[in-house]
């Protein structure tokens, strides 16, 4: 059985060790962000904080499944070939949920929806994207959906910020979000279409890792001192 390009070791051009290190650092950063914001979320029940936490939880899941799929295939530790559609489905589902949670963390105040409705919208949309992408082998839908969510987040957050009575301008993390989104899209394209940037994969990995670490630093800095 021929391997899908996402899991082809020749096209990946990175060793399992690099994939493992990249995934491990990002997963660790995401888990730490999730863990360090736990108290703020529990104390306030604030929807923005809750969605922010879920964003990084789902990013962690996404990197876990991705790592699991790639490393197992390259290393041939376990023959995943019969289950690759399931792994791909899981990656697309949790990745879509992560970016949707990030979008909702920015716009939830302006939506007239309840927390439960938001959850249904996020997971329903992620499920639909994953199902269509895997069942119809329509990888472009996955990439397009991520780009669409990125553009929506950028446009809506600019609009909301300038129509807000509270204050103008953006915090430093707004720009980090945008960069994270952009590199997330590049990562997504790199995963779905490995021929797209095999030679600059290491640079993309390094920048993505740095962005996650900057957000982690911000979270540790902002939540520190209260323990």
């Amino acid at each position: 059985m021929e391997l899908p390009p996402q899991f082809d070791p020749v096209l990946l051009k990175v060793t399992p060790l690099i994939e493992a290190e990249y995934a491990a650092v990002v997963i660790l950063a995401c888990v730490l962000i999730f863990w360090r914001t736990r108290e703020l979320s529990q104390l306030t029940g604030h929807r923005g904080i809750q969605y922010f936490r879920y964003t990084f939880l789902f990013f962690a899941f996404s990197y876990f499944f991705r790592f699991f799929g790639i490393v197992n295939q390259i290393g041939r530790y376990v023959d995943l070939r019969p289950h690759l559609n399931l792994v791909t489905f899981a990656i697309i589902y949790v990745s879509s949920a992560a970016v949707l949670y990030l979008l909702f963390s920015l716009i939830w105040k302006k939506l007239r929806t309840s927390r439960t409705q938001d959850t249904w919208i996020i997971h329903g949309t992620a499920l639909a994207i994953a199902t269509v992408s895997v069942v119809f082998r329509y990888t472009e839908l996955f990439i397009l959906s991520q780009i669409l969510i990125l553009l929506s987040a950028a446009v809506l957050s600019v609009y909301l910020r300038y129509t807000s009575k509270k204050k103008k301008g953006f915090s430093q993390f707004y720009y980090i979000y945008i960069l994270l989104f952009v590199f997330w899209i590049v990562n997504t394209i790199g995963f779905a279409v490995p021929r797209f940037f095999p030679d600059i994969k290491l640079i993309v990995y390094a920048v993505s890792t740095t962005l996650f670490l900057i957000i982690l630093y911000g979270v540790l800095n902002k939540t520190g001192g209260g323990k």
Binding site: Y51, S157, G225
Partner: protein, 90 residues
């Protein structure tokens, strides 16, 4: 007067209790909170549900409202919470 958001209202109510030696009767709390009776009832219910406050009896047997450890923790962490929400555009 600027409209306060939910987190700020909760903070203000908890601060009123703390400023009154952690024992205040419901009526003065309502007055100091600057809320309508209906909104006060909603917020007070939330404070009880989240275990930020408890209803106790003072030495004269009157009902008073006191902060729990969790309520104190909220007050302690309020600036951090506010800063976090603003910095991450939440």
């Amino acid at each position: 007067m600027r409209k306060r958001d939910r987190l700020e209202v909760i903070h203000d109510m908890l601060k009123v209790i703390a400023d009154h030696n952690n024992a205040i009767k419901p009526t003065p709390l309502l007055r100091y909170s600057n809320l309508s009776s209906q909104r006060f009832a909603e917020y007070f219910g939330e404070l009880l549900a989240k275990e930020f406050v408890t209803e106790e009896q003072d030495k004269k047997g009157r009902k008073v409202i006191a902060l729990t450890d969790r309520g104190y923790r909220y007050l302690q962490r309020y600036d951090t919470i506010r800063g976090f929400i603003d910095d991450f555009n939440l």
